[in-house]
Symmetry: C2
Subunit: 386 residues, 2 copies
């Protein structure tokens, strides 16, 4: 077993190979297989109305609560590819199913990369054919294979009492990732049913991937899948499962934030004093998506006025004369006006914590994690297809 | 009379002077005076819940439908400045009123610049004192004085039949300007009442400043004010007034788009085939605010997949399998999949027109004007206060 990643829990194997989909020549096809004895599965998907063929295929597959494998490709999102794209995703599902001894409906498909081009199916097919003969303790290879603009592979392991949760991920957000679609695969040898796993995944997602917002854009392909093999023989209760899945998701989300396209700062935006948590989340997202706030962060500029200008447009109740803001614990704004020394707060470090109180006296609270808006972000994203 | 700008129509004077508010040393105080014989006025303001003291003062002043003058300062927004800020805005109003022979309630106040610092009132007061003694045909000086990050002064003149509409503006948007707050002052010698002027201004605003969306951020200070002197003695009907005011606003909005911070491309996003105009506008705004679409435009990259990924998150009904997209008239996507030659469309010019059909068969249609997201945008906005 690996020390980390999807093959660290008992009952899972993986493999990856180059499929010629990525210019870099690094592997572009990966398969993660649940060897059982149980096959419970859960997933959350993009909320984008324009979603990719593999999302359609995977939604249907996971609906019955059981998966034996997930097949991944990087380099091409198979999104906006019409009937042919759907057919291609089904071929990926079918070939993987045949290769690992499963029904097609027990296989999910995840793709990431450029939108709008048809998959080079000859390469994909030969890649899958090769991968299914090499299954083993190769979680690290799989985590490497699914990277697109990710600079590092992302793997986790969280230990329970006699059971573990492993995982891998790529990309930079769930609700609002960069073009680098977010794909996550969690594996656990806990003995849990699909419903418990789905509950744990949704709870974890809401405060981890779902509040990671790099650039306000949302992929057509975002997918988080969890599979449980039951191979440990241990049945954690829901609280224990929730805690471990949350920890795995939080660690992966943190890695994505640190590795987001062009990031030089990790920025957390917490909104308090809102009428309710949903309004707090609206306000935190509005601030976290504001280009002027994000460029100020890139410049280490404690320009709190931009935070107020941004939050004033949020769909949230606020007392516009009683908003307060702290940067890294230093009060920079009270009663919606500047605090002494506000312009001198040092934001030169890599982590910036912004806390905004909307002044309603309410208990609503939420945190969104984002990044700065840097030259490198513009550079990476201005020349993606060309 | 000037050939252009706020003093081109009959019955208006203006002056501007340096007030030491801007590091560049260029003038930072301007006053535009309606000499009458009539004093009808209209205005639209920012929708930001966090709005600046001068907005509060001006809203109250214009409520009665009559203004004799507007005083402007650049370099400091007098926003998030609490009770002191409100007091300072009232002082500006009062000094200007005294200087031009008006009641304080007949004077509007417009400020633009950094948020959160108190105005240097000594400099502001001496600036106003100087300006009111220099009133004349100095619209061009006023247009220059209100600039912040604007690289050029922005003036217009639209001719009616025996009457004219002049105007000046600065900044980069209304609903969603860059930090450079949008301030606009229109003047006309038409003989029209405040209600007709307000109607014309609101109609023009909805399709000009209100659909100019540079970076999704919205200022605390945005203000568009119109004053009518009646000095021509000509009373245009509402249609004629609407047309002239619309033309003046459209020209100023076009100048703002071209001069937006860091712009290298002017991008228009038109959404058609929506259920109604409001949904079309939602969709156009969502695309126009998407960082990945905007960086692709900067890179002259015909990456239509990002347009689909962006529009899929819009609050608008769409047929996700029947979306079509054109770039500069070339079809790049039909039935939500790529069209032949889509990757080869040349977007290297300075103007890019994106047209998206949501495929609902509806008649809803809207256009939003935006720009690319460039290195220069990041540079300008990452070092604004420091």
């Amino acid at each position: 077993m690996s020390a980390l990643g999807v093959t660290a829990p008992q009952g899972f194997s993986a493999a990856a190979t180059g499929a010629g989909l990525k210019a870099s020549g690094s592997p572009g096809i990966a398969v993660v297989v649940n060897e059982g004895p149980e096959f419970a599965a859960a997933a959350v998907f993009t909320r984008n109305k324009v979603f990719a063929a593999p999302v359609k295929v995977s939604r249907a597959a996971v609906a019955a609560g059981e998966l034996k494998a997930v097949v991944f490709n990087s380099g091409n999102a198979n999104a906006c590819t019409g009937e042919q794209g759907l057919h291609d995703a089904q071929i990926m599902q079918q070939l993987t199913a045949e290769g690992v001894g499963a029904e097609p409906t027990q296989v999910a498909v995840c793709s990431t990369g450029i939108i709008g081009d048809l998959l080079p199916m000859e390469k994909v097919e030969s890649g899958i054919a090769a991968v299914v003969t090499q299954l083993g303790d190769h979680g690290a290879d799989a985590a490497d294979a699914i990277r697109t603009t990710d600079t590092i592979a992302k793997e986790v392991l969280v230990k329970g009492d006699g059971w573990t949760v492993g995982g891998m991920g790529k990309g930079a957000g769930m609700m609002a990732p960069s073009l680098a679609t977010m794909l996550v695969c969690l594996t656990t040898d806990a003995k849990v049913n699909a419903q418990a796993l789905q509950t744990a995944l949704e709870r974890a997602n809401s405060t981890t991937f779902n509040t990671l917002d790099i650039d306000g854009s949302t992929s057509t392909n975002d997918t988080v899948i969890a599979m449980a093999s039951g191979a440990s023989g241990v049945s954690p209760d829901q609280d224990e499962l929730d805690a471990a899945v949350h920890e795995a998701c939080a660690q992966l989300a943190g890695m994505m934030q640190s590795d987001a396209e062009g990031v030089t700062k990790r920025v957390s935006i917490t909104v308090e004093g809102a009428a309710d948590d949903e309004q707090a989340l609206n306000a935190a997202r509005t601030i976290g998506r504001d280009s002027l706030v994000k460029t100020a962060m890139f410049g280490s500029d404690p320009n709190w006025g931009r935070v107020l200008a941004a939050v004033g447009m949020a769909d949230a109740e606020m007392d516009a004369d009683n908003i307060s803001v702290t940067f890294n614990g230093h009060t920079v704004c009270e009663y919606s006006t500047g605090a002494p020394g506000a312009r001198d707060v040092d934001l030169s470090g890599a982590d910036i914590a912004v806390v905004v109180d909307l002044g309603t006296g309410g208990e609503g609270r939420a945190t969104v994690r984002t990044t700065d808006l840097s030259h490198a972000y513009v550079e990476i994203n201005s020349a993606y297809t060309s």
